[in-house]
Subunit: 438 residues, 2 copies
Amino acid sequence: MDVGSHGSRLDPWVGSYARRAATMTASEIRALFAVASRPEVVSLAGGMPFVSALPLDAVSGTIARLVTDRGAAALQYGSGQGEPRLREQIAGELMPLVGVATHPDDVVVTVGSQQALDLVTRVFCDPGDVVLAEAPSYVGALSVFAAYQVDVVHVPMDDEGLDPSALRATLDRLAAEGRRAKLLYTIPSFHNPAGVTQGSARRAEVLAACVAAGVLVLEDDPYGLLGFDGVVPRALRADSEEGVVYLGSFSKTFAPGLRVGWAVAPHGVREKLVLAAEASVLCPSEFAQQVVSAYLSEQPWWDQVKGFRELYRERRDALLRELAAQLPEGTRWTVPSGGFYSWVTLPDGLDATAMLPRAVTARVAYVPGTAFYAGPAKALGRASLRLSYCFPEPERIREGVRRLATVVEAELDLQATFGPSLGVRARGAVEVPGPETA
Amino acid sequence: MDVGSHGSRLDPWVGSYARRAATMTASEIRALFAVASRPEVVSLAGGMPFVSALPLDAVSGTIARLVTDRGAAALQYGSGQGEPRLREQIAGELMPLVGVATHPDDVVVTVGSQQALDLVTRVFCDPGDVVLAEAPSYVGALSVFAAYQVDVVHVPMDDEGLDPSALRATLDRLAAEGRRAKLLYTIPSFHNPAGVTQGSARRAEVLAACVAAGVLVLEDDPYGLLGFDGVVPRALRADSEEGVVYLGSFSKTFAPGLRVGWAVAPHGVREKLVLAAEASVLCPSEFAQQVVSAYLSEQPWWDQVKGFRELYRERRDALLRELAAQLPEGTRWTVPSGGFYSWVTLPDGLDATAMLPRAVTARVAYVPGTAFYAGPAKALGRASLRLSYCFPEPERIREGVRRLATVVEAELDLQATFGPSLGVRARGAVEVPGPETA
């Protein structure tokens, strides 16, 4: 996994790079995508939505009409803030689903919500600034924070999500050190990678702690509509217009290949985000935005979301049943009530990072827990791994778990013979309840 | 033009922004886009290509087939470096046109070439670093440099483009001050905004000066295929694989609404760019890339480029003829041999920035020259303005120039009565020959 090193070729520009370039390193997920794309490997690694479930002929017709009827506008430059009609649909149709009343003026369309993460960090964070993030946290956000030389401080979570008392303790500790966090980056619903969801009481506590400490909440919510019981959790943003930047995405409910996400931001922040976006890409793709807008208005998109929920629930069930049936005692995992992921913690002493090459040899791929922690905290993830059930068919998921179980059993045999590969038990990772099935 | 100020609303986060946020300000072009969109105004301001000339029914068919036949792949996440087939087409079909032999591995697809500008600056420039740029330079690049707190040093150009002796003098001066420029940002062909093109002898001199000084050349070439005499200028990159990052774009030859551009970079730089791109947007739109790729393989795209050349040549001719017929003595302009723009310098004493509100009142819009200079150098652009002939029909262009001439005449009358509005004659701007027509 030494992608990003210069290998044996000489780089004449090695003395010219910015300081931040030193912190731009390849994530574990990046190298894995190459490995996991081999057809014989069951990939439980990537977070690719199952876009084959979309009605492609109908989508094709919608897009063809768009180009024929309004192509000259759809293929032209657009507004830096995003297509006005799409912003109206986001404010009028999407945001009320998560309990948020907002105006199209406060919506900024971005190149996937990844760009929104980049822009918020660009606007708020100088090198050395502190950002709080769950332990574990989304690997793509950690890449952004690394690129801006931000100091990520992880806050423990359990099976109900981010722990408010741990958050308060962290804020107090930072205050005692004379440091203030600029942002709390959090995924309250159907967490990536932890697969847990925060209840409403905890959300209120998190918000109150951040307001008291003057910390802006960056609420990332790509999976909010994909709850398996049909309930859409109320966003933090619904209870604080000025204290939260909310990030939404069409990548999981429609199509990631369009790269259309959005931010809903306090007024002053929104203006900065638009300026940063214009410098960064001039404007998001007008064509992709008009495709999304036409899809929302012409196609039964809400039925499609319900269809995705059913599809992913079936796959989650397949995963959980097979984990319970196959994984050895001492293995624990979270039970996601929505989204794409379960977080698995291996029996004491096993190391998911060290085990990965053997898993790939056994033709199953996952993302090791270390990918979801920043800097020195990476060690906290060594006992854990993320399993994705979003893309493979249920039978492939079951086969993947069977292969994984074989690898874990073999690791336990090795440990019984040679001692643990993880000398010290990792702490600070998600504390999960014992094995359960849905 | 106080877009970007917080107006009367209180921003509770004003104390939390990063230092770089202070340098993110609205460009003159941004405010102008709002004004110029009124139908009664003849806009000679924006650089929008005339996408209505595309065969929209054929494009619609190509895209519909793409979604029907390969939608599940086209709507999915893609590679951070860009779609392999499109990179092959760029390396195999596009780059040879500008004299460049390259491998698809050294191509990075970006969200328009604007994102490539952002990524190169991100990878190379710390706050306070020096970037050299032509005087005047592309406003979007100046926005990027401002966002990264870069110190832009302008280098004079004349009607043959960037002046190599001025470049050498600037490099010597910087060396004497103990400073080194990280990048030279240059648009050698059909310059935006100056409308001039550099000959091959000068290109060699520029390259030699940069190699000697250890300065990476960032060659921006969105207009290279749009030369009116049918000759495609040879790129700087063709003569230096290690010393140049080349930026290309489909925005002017196909459709800006797709946001597909690319960088061809030295190997080590390319790796950094991919990492920076992944942190920034995960991957460019797979859908937009596959649309471009299908367009290149299914449609007669080279004939379309030739059609665009004819269309823009006709509009340039309309502009130049009307300038010669209408503008008062003492007005000068460049004669573009390709691209979208002519750079007009007003008679002595007139101020294009101060004149703009009166021009808009007279229902014609342009971009004042100050937009194309960074920081304190802005004053160098006050006597000049950029006229775009790419979007309006020839009759509208002629009407726009007639309105502009009326405004300039009125300014001269005012000056004759009350004295010059520009106390000191601006220097350092493009030195252009006297009025000519094509």
